[in-house]
Structure formats: structure tokens, C-alpha cells
């Protein structure tokens, strides 16, 4: 009896301790992995009401269902912040109908339209096939919206010309010359121009003045085809010397310089500095930054055939250390679980559709593609430290598990003290949701798979039989694209007209929710 009483007493002590721990922990700030626009409650707000750990928002958008057809689709995002004017952006989605945009402030009014066709893509007509209006909530962080869309009206087929450079970036403003072309034709920001069948099929494509690195090309158009892709060759890249960089190099080690072109291309890449020379740079004008002795130098770099000119854009700014608190030791020992602070400007968030489609947005390529970023180190005490961060907007993320954690923070330019953020386990704070449903229809000898993708490097697949259900558990909040694919869908000799894969459908999975999405196959 004595032992029993002792055990019961111990159980009571444990239960009491549990409520004490709960009370203590909820009085501490808890940071969520992303506020969900469609969620009215969540751990983030309940743990620390009225105060978000995030300092800006990123909006993830998905089409309710990606329509089948040949007309190009894009998102048109119109943003009104405060009393300012509405600013519109055209963004190409990934093949799954996903895109992201930011940074955005709390209270920003965002009108998200899905537009089919339009001159920007080389089509004559333009049709809005879906629209949604959202207001960014005070939770900030990652927020989500699905835009319901209808099938676009059939458009008359017309030949288009697309002009790209050797890296497949669209060339904006390229001139098209041909016999029969009476008005001046220039490619859109996405590199397209419509072609009239009355024109002579031989055309000359002249690069715009903003792209002195390109050479003109002459091609023959086949109007019976859908499209003519013109790839303009580049002048060879070369090593350059920047006097200001050389003088900095003499007093401190510099191994990288970041260049971003000032034209419509939004890549952001680091170039190696070797013996004070920057290697493999093409002719053009770039925004250039490099770090030296705890300061960041910024300016505009003009690389011409014969000379290089650097014009500083203001005085150098001091670099800061960013610390993410918590117990992150596990990430020091699991392979490919790198922690990063990824730059989050409008430019960096407008990731090209092919990068989105490749799910590489937050991998090495993505980081050096449009998104400047830095890898963090896990200290022995579990903190993550990002030394030498320049002022700007960043998102804390984990490569390999891009939806596991997210913290949108700003490194201020004028702040003199170190910027320190604490993250008390974002996954538990945000919670996870489930996605499930059934696949109905006529059974087939070949098995089916349900595929799930999200913005960033996330992809999952599960086998499913017709008439049975599928489930993906423990998904972090976000927009997920889902489709059903028969195993022979991509076989070369498959008979056409057979329903072997569904369209991509997008859903928001939120913390604590079970989202049902059923499919029907023929």
C-alpha cells in the first residue's frame, strides 16, 4: 500500500509540474513557421497574442486548378500598402500553378489575378480567369491564398517569337526586323513578340542597348509551328579588375563579389575573386556588393569592352551578426539540413518559373540564382549564428526541409546592437496538417501515384489504387499542389487520348486541419 501511495503521489507531482511547465512556456515568446491567411487561430497568436515574431510577410499563391491548354498563364499581383498607389507585378507560375511574392507589410491589400494570354506572352488577347483579394494579417510570415480559376476561352492560334540569352533569361526590348514589318517590334519583358504570317519568314533579332553582351542573330521562322525560340549568343566572359576592389583586397581578404544585372534579368550571383580579379564577367551594368573588414560596399559596376567603372552608391554599411536561438544541434549532424538566411526582396522572391518548377528555389542554385543568402553555423550551445549579414530583409529557412521553419526578419541599417532572434521550435509552434482523399474511377492494371509539391524543394509521392484513399500526414502549413498520375503517364509509346494524369490542383494545408481532396480518373 505504501508503494502505491508513493506512486500516486509521484503521479500527482508530475501532473502538477506539467501545468507549471505549460504556464511558464506560454509566457515565453513562441515563433511560428508562418501565419496562415485562412486560419483564424494558431499557436503563434495564442502563445503571444497581438505580437508577431515576423517583420514582414511573404504570400504564397496557387491556382485552384491549373487549366489544360496552350495559352500562357501568369499571376498579376496588385499591391496597395497604406495610402500608396497600387503597384502591379506579372509573375510566371511554376508548372504546378504556384508562385510567391513579398515582402509585404501587415494590412497590405493584395489583388491576385490569374491572367491567360496577353501581349507580354506574345498573345493578342488577354483574359482574367480568376481573382482573389487578400489582406495581409498581422501574423505576417508566410501567408497563403488559392485563386479559383476557370478554363480560358479558346484563343486563335498565332505564331510567337521568344528571344532568350544563352542562360535562357528573357531578352526584353530586342528589335525584330523583317521584310513586311512596318511597325517597330520589340520583345516584351518576358521576351515574347507575336509574329504575323504576312511577314517574310527571315528575321533579324537585334539585342537591346541594355544588353551589350549579346550579338544579333538571323533566323528563319516557320509560321506553321507554335513558336520560334531565338537564342542570342553572348560575347565571351572575361576576368576584370575593379580598382576599388583591388585596394580593399590589399588590406583584407575578399573571396566573393555579388553581381546583379540592372536590366530585367533578376539573377543574383556570387563571382569568385582571385588575386583581386573577378572572373567570368560579361559586358554589362550590374549592382555590385562585396564585404571587407566588417563593412559592405555597394555600387554600380559598368563593364565595357575596354574599361571597367565602379560608382559607389553611398558609404559602406556595417555588417551585423544574426543569431537564431534554440537547440539546433540536430541540424549540425544531419546531412543536407543547412540553415540559411535567404534575402527576401521583391526581386529575389520573383523566382523564375523554371526554377520554381525545378523545386530548387532554396537550394544552392536558388540561393545564387535570384536569392542572395548565407549559410549559418550551429554553435555548441544550439544557437545558429549568421555572421556578417548586411542590412536587408531575410527569411530564416532550412535547406532540405524548406517548410520546416520560417522566420521573416529585417536586419536594420541603423541599428548599432547585434540583432538576436530566438526561435522556440517553429514546427510545434505552427503545427502540422494532413492531406487526404480518394481516387475514384475505373480500375486500371497500371498503378497510380499521388504527387504533392510545394514552393521550394518539397516533393512527395505515394502509390494509390483506384477506389482507395491516400494520405500525406504532418505537412507544415502552406500551399500544396497535388495530382494523380498513372505509372505509364510519361512512357513514350503510350496511346494518346488516355486519361493518365489529372491536372495540378492546389490546396492550403493548415495547422491542425485535415484537408480532403478527391480525384476521379477515367
Amino acid at each position: 500500500m505504501k508503494s502505491r501511495a508513493l506512486l500516486i503521489g509521484l503521479a500527482a507531482v508530475l501532473a502538477g509540474s506539467a501545468f507549471f511547465v505549460e504556464r511558464i512556456s506560454t509566457s515565453l515568446p513562441v515563433i511560428g513557421s508562418g501565419g496562415a491567411e485562412t486560419t483564424s487561430s494558431g499557436t503563434t497568436s495564442s502563445a503571444n497574442p497581438g505580437q508577431s515574431p515576423h517583420e514582414f510577410a511573404i504570400l504564397e499563391m496557387g491556382m485552384g486548378e491549373v487549366p489544360v491548354g496552350s495559352v500562357a498563364l501568369r499571376f498579376r499581383v496588385s499591391v496597395t500598402e497604406g495610402n500608396g498607389p497600387a503597384v502591379a507585378y506579372d509573375i510566371e507560375p511554376s508548372e504546378t500553378g504556384l508562385v510567391q511574392f513579398g515582402p509585404l507589410k501587415a494590412g497590405a491589400e493584395v489583388v491576385v489575378s490569374v491572367v491567360a494570354g496577353g501581349a507580354i506572352c506574345g498573345f493578342e488577347g488577354e483574359e482574367t480567369i480568376g481573382e482573389a483579394r487578400v489582406r495581409i494579417t498581422g501574423a505576417l510570415g508566410r501567408q497563403f491564398v488559392i485563386v479559383p480559376v476557370r478554363t480560358p476561352s479558346p484563343t486563335p492560334r498565332r505564331h510567337r517569337i521568344e528571344v532568350v540569352d544563352a542562360d535562357e533569361w528573357a531578352v526584353e526590348g530586342a528589335r525584330i526586323l523583317s521584310d513586311g514589318v512596318t511597325t517597330e517590334l520589340r520583345t516584351s519583358v518576358l521576351g515574347f513578340v507575336p509574329f504575323d504570317s504576312t511577314w517574310a519568314p527571315r528575321i533579324r533579332v537585334i539585342p537591346p542597348p541594355t544588353r551589350p553582351d549579346l550579338v544579333e542573330e538571323e533566323v528563319r521562322v516557320e509560321p506553321k509551328d507554335w513558336m520560334t525560340l531565338v537564342t542570342l549568343d553572348s560575347l565571351p566572359a572575361r576576368a576584370i579588375e575593379i580598382p576599388e576592389l583591388s585596394s580593399d583586397f590589399a588590406r583584407a581578404s575578399i573571396d566573393r563579389i555579388r553581381l546583379e544585372p540592372v536590366d530585367s534579368r533578376n539573377w543574383s550571383r556570387e563571382f569568385r575573386v582571385h588575386e583581386a580579379r573577378v572572373e567570368h564577367v560579361r559586358i554589362g551594368t550590374y549592382r555590385a556588393t562585396w564585404d571587407v573588414a566588417g563593412m559592405r560596399r555597394r555600387g554600380v559596376l559598368t563593364v565595357e569592352r575596354e574599361r571597367v567603372h565602379f560608382e559607389e552608391s553611398g558609404p559602406p554599411v556595417p555588417l551585423r551578426q544574426v543569431e537564431i536561438g534554440g537547440s539546433w544541434q540536430a541540424f549540425a549532424m544531419v546531412p543536407m539540413q543547412f540553415v540559411v538566411l535567404a534575402g527576401r526582396t521583391v526581386r529575389s522572391v520573383l523566382t523564375p518559373s523554371r526554377v520554381l518548377s525545378s523545386r530548387d528555389m532554396e537550394t544552392f542554385d536558388g540561393l545564387n540564382f535570384t536569392t542572395p543568402g548565407r549559410f549559418g553555423g550551429v554553435e555548441d550551445d544550439g544557437r545558429i549564428v549568421f555572421p556578417d549579414m548586411a542590412p536587408g530583409a531575410y527569411e530564416f529557412a532550412i535547406i532540405g526541409r524548406p517548410r520546416y521553419a520560417s522566420l521573416c526578419l529585417v536586419v536594420p541599417e541603423t541599428e548599432e546592437t547585434e540583432v538576436v532572434r530566438r526561435v522556440a521550435h517553429p514546427v510545434a509552434a505552427a503545427g502540422v496538417g494532413d492531406l487526404y482523399g480518394t481516387v475514384a474511377g475505373q480500375a486500371h492494371s497500371k498503378p497510380y501515384h499521388v504527387e504533392v509539391r510545394a514552393v521550394g524543394q518539397f516533393e512527395a509521392m505515394k502509390p494509390v489504387k483506384v477506389g482507395e484513399s491516400y494520405e500525406f500526414g504532418e505537412l507544415s502549413p502552406g500551399v500544396y499542389a497535388v495530382r494523380v498520375v498513372r505509372s505509364d503517364a510519361f512512357e513514350m509509346l503510350r496511346s494518346t487520348g488516355d486519361c493518365v494524369r489529372s491536372t495540378w490542383r492546389n490546396v492550403i494545408v493548415d495547422a491542425g486541419l485535415r484537408v480532403k481532396l478527391d480525384f476521379a480518373v477515367e
Binding site: 508503494s3 506539467a18 505549460e22 549532424m333
Partner: protein
Amino acid sequence: MSPERITRWILALIVAAAAATKLLAFETTRRGVAELLGAAGIGPLSQTGLDAAIWALAVSEVALAAAIAFSPRPRLGLAALLAMIAAGIVLFGAATSWGRDADLACPCGLPFELPFLHNTFAAMLVRDAILLALVALAWPSAEPAATDPGDGGESAAGRGVTA
């Protein structure tokens, strides 16, 4: 069958379920254990080491369940279970700074959630309190249970302790 014995069977099933869950969701367990050990400052362990630790834990849980359910000395099994609970509290508590820091998921194979508790360590303590209460109910009134052959206990004579 006595209430003590029924409770022991329930406890044995719970412990066996914990072992089975660990092995059935091995990848999740591996990730959880790696995070937990890392947060507690143990390791880093290699993949093989982690796998071996998980298997060892699961096998010992199965043995523990068998001991609780079938052993003629169930107190030994129950005491081992108490030790395991205590070790779990210490390890998880250390990893989470006693609930103040990282809210790790418990890889013990016994997920436990209550809608009014947000802290995983607090939820774990409530679960352990329930387990403790079950152990108290399962605790044999007297050992060896010579008068209750249905308990699987052995007689004093059978254990050769008679004079």
C-alpha cells in the same frame, strides 16, 4: 483475473505499442531521436549508431512488456518501467531546458496531446503521470503472489525459499 493483472496487461500493451510504433515509423523515430540527442548534447551519433540505439530501445521495451505481463516478479518489470519513464523525463527535460526551450517532438512512440497543452514536455509529463497511476494500480499487493496462481506468480515453495 485480478484488477492488478488486468492493469499490468494494459501497461504491457502500451509499452509494446511504443516499441512497435518506433519500428513501424523508423524514419520518423530516427529523425526524432537524432534531434533529441542533439538537443540534449549527446552525440553526434552515426546513422548506424542511431539505428542500433533505436533497435536496442525497441527490443528492451518488448522485453519489458513481456516482463510486466508474464514475469512471476512483475515488480521488477514495473520498476524497470519507472526507471525508463524517469530516464525519459530527464533526457527530454534536459533537451528542452525543462520545457522552456525547443519544443521537440518526443520520439518515444507514445504520442500524447491534450488540446489545452501546447508544450510537448508538459504533455509528456501528463502522460507519464497517467503511466505512473497505472503502475500504482498494477503494483502487486504482495510479491511473490503465492495465493494468486492466476497472476502467474510462483509460490514461495516453488522459489525454494522454504526453510
